[in-house]
């Protein structure tokens, strides 16, 4: 308090930078660690920091695909599943959110309640019957087994309904007077206007689906049908001594979501905070 303001301001800033950098190093340590192990070559005794920094083995990322061709199949599976679920959730949520936001009908509150009620049922409480059901349909080791159960989301319905309700209702009535059908209104006016909310839902859903573990673990059995998340953990089991390819595969699998985070951070943040804070 008694020191000159300029001095205290500079030192405060320095302290903050030191703390920020220190925290960043701690938080990024596991990622550095993974990268360090990946680049050290095929050694049974890796070190925290590569012994020879001039001789890093960047070829390991290509070697993963050559030594373990199933990795590309896992990535394809995860992409197909995450993309289909994302598109599906966007479609089913928009349709239902439209009905809840624009149509006037008896029992609207009940419909909303039934949708939101699914949030009260944890995944684990439905897991066993769902597993038995999917098995009885012969959907194990198929895309539909991985996709169909996740094609609707109460969070998505609610998020889009809230967003649709902020858009002027006059627009809707004017469009109807002009002879626009409801489906057409949803598709050519509401969807373009709601791009921010749809982007939020898309980023959130893609990330969540890409990172799924428990369900794909149960529903896939053969190596070619595994998704990336399950794949990298079985990798670990039969190749526990080969650290470099294992870590390289893990990094490759993390890349899509890390890129998505950097590009879609705003959407993701608004999605996560929308329900949590101000509703």
């Amino acid at each position: 308090m008694t020191t000159a303001p300029t001095y205290s301001k500079i030192s405060y800033r320095t302290v903050m930078y030191v703390l920020l950098i220190l925290m960043s190093i701690i938080l990024l340590f596991p990622l550095f660690f993974a990268l360090s192990l990946a680049l050290q070559g095929d050694t049974a005794a890796p070190t925290l920091i590569p012994r020879d920094l001039n001789n890093l083995d960047w070829g390991v990322f290509r070697a993963v695909f050559e030594q373990r061709p199933e990795v590309s199949r896992w990535i394809l599976n995860s992409f197909v599943v995450a993309t289909s679920v994302t598109v599906g959730v966007l479609v089913t949520s928009s349709l239902m959110a439209f009905a809840l936001a624009y149509l006037d009908f008896p029992g609207k509150a009940v419909l909303l309640f039934v949708a939101l009620g699914t949030l009260m049922v944890p995944f684990e409480a439905t897991l066993i019957p769902n597993y038995l059901f999917i098995s009885s349909l012969q959907w194990k080791d198929t895309y539909q087994g991985l996709i169909v159960p996740f094609l609707a989301s109460a969070f998505g319905v609610f998020l889009l309904r809230q967003y649709f309700m902020t858009l002027p209702k006059d627009l809707y009535e004017a469009a109807l007077v002009d002879g626009c059908t409801k489906l057409r209104y949803l598709w050519s006016i509401l969807v373009p206007l709601s791009r921010p909310a749809l982007a939020t839902l898309a980023v959130y859903t893609f990330l969540g689906t890409w990172n799924q573990f428990y369900w794909p673990l149960l529903i896939t059995n053969s190596t070619e049908w595994r998704t990336t998340q399950v794949g990298i953990t079985i990798f670990r089991n039969f190749e526990y001594a080969v650290f470099n390819t294992q870590m390289a595969a893990t990094i490759i699998v993390m890349l899509p979501t890390l890129i998505l985070l950097v590009l879609g951070q705003r959407q993701l943040v608004s999605g996560l905070t929308s329900g949590a804070l101000k509703g």
Partner: protein, 317 residues
């Protein structure tokens, strides 16, 4: 951690739909009902097939001894529940539930304290702050499976990254994960790291929602940083922190992936993982269904508390 954001303004929204009294079943409204059902059908069919029907089927299965195909073979009443709650004198399942709560007790306070510290750091007005914020958020993009695989090597004796800790604690095991005393804390540390991104985002949003003029008037009154933090930030952030406490507790009790990847098969594990073992390896579908219903009840209570907390937070604003 994959916590689903819970909508909070449900009550207000539902109440505002029908403020004007109209004929409940006019022809126009009935026609729109048909249309609404059509529009809602895709989502509702999925909700019915994969949430409601299986939920009731789980309750039904939990009252039966099942055959290896998962069909009810013999009515069993509430025997499985008695067994799970240790009312027949065998308490190992109570211990698994206890382990789950111990785990939550480690993860939740640590995770919230860390994210609070990160959020305070991230509100400083310095250059490049956006970069630091992205770094602090990064763990949200990293799946529990990837995190688990990396941390398994951090804890592995082969890489030696945590050997110093094993020596320091004088453990007789080869790694933290192989010792009964340190296995759960080790998984907790990994889970705190994995959950930080989410907790940080929510805390930061909470901090940023605090009106700036409160800080300005506190500065005029000569309050120092600690007083401002203690008297303004913490009280105004308390709804956010309560929300995080409950969401994180729910998430910790549901934790599965990290236990699957990190904990050796034969050591006692948390409730959700033991449930998995009982149906996956032993085909005890009825018993595991009962366990999943017990988990449902625990989480349901927590969720109800959460709705209360969040709604109170909204009323406050």
């Amino acid at each position: 951690m994959s916590a689903t954001p819970i909508p909070s303004s449900l009550n207000a929204a539902a109440a505002s739909t029908d403020s004007v009294k109209v004929n409940q079943f006019s022809r126009k409204r009935l026609r729109e009902l048909g249309m609404a059902l059509l529009f809602s059908a895709p989502a509702m069919i999925i909700f019915a097939l994969f949430t409601y029907v299986p939920f009731f089927r789980a309750i039904w299965l939990s009252l039966h001894v099942t055959n290896p195909a998962g069909e009810p073979a013999r009515f069993n009443g509430v025997d499985y529940y008695i067994r799970l709650l240790g009312l027949d004198g065998r308490t190992e399942w109570l211990e698994y539930i206890g382990l789950s709560f111990q785990f939550a007790l480690m993860v939740v306070p640590l995770g919230i304290l860390f994210s609070l510290a990160l959020a305070m750091l991230a509100t400083t007005k310095v250059k490049l702050i956006e970069v630091f914020r992205t770094i602090f958020t990064s763990s949200i993009a990293i799946s529990l499976a990837s995190a688990g695989v990396i941390w398994a090597l951090i804890f592995s004796p082969a890489t030696g990254a945590t050997t110093w800790l094993v020596d320091l604690l004088n453990l007789n095991s080869i790694s933290l994960l192989n010792d009964e005393r340190t296995a759960l804390p080790a998984v907790a540390v990994m889970s705190v790291w994995a959950g930080l991104g989410f907790n940080f985002i929510i805390t930061l949003a909470g901090v940023q929602a605090i009106p700036q003029d409160l800080y300005e008037s506190a500065a005029i009154d000569g309050a120092n940083r600690w007083q401002t933090f203690r008297r303004i930030t913490i009280p105004l952030l308390s709804p956010t922190l309560l929300f995080l406490t409950i969401v994180n507790t729910i998430g910790s009790l549901q934790a599965f992936t990290q236990f699957h990847v990190l904990i050796p098969q034969n050591s006692p594990n948390v409730f959700v993982y033991e449930t998995f073992l009982s149906f996956w390896y032993d085909n005890r579908y009825g018993f595991a269904s009962a366990a999943s219903i017990v988990l449902f009840v625990i989480l349901f209570v927590l969720t109800v508390v959460q709705y209360r907390v969040v709604n109170r937070g909204v009323h406050y604003q």
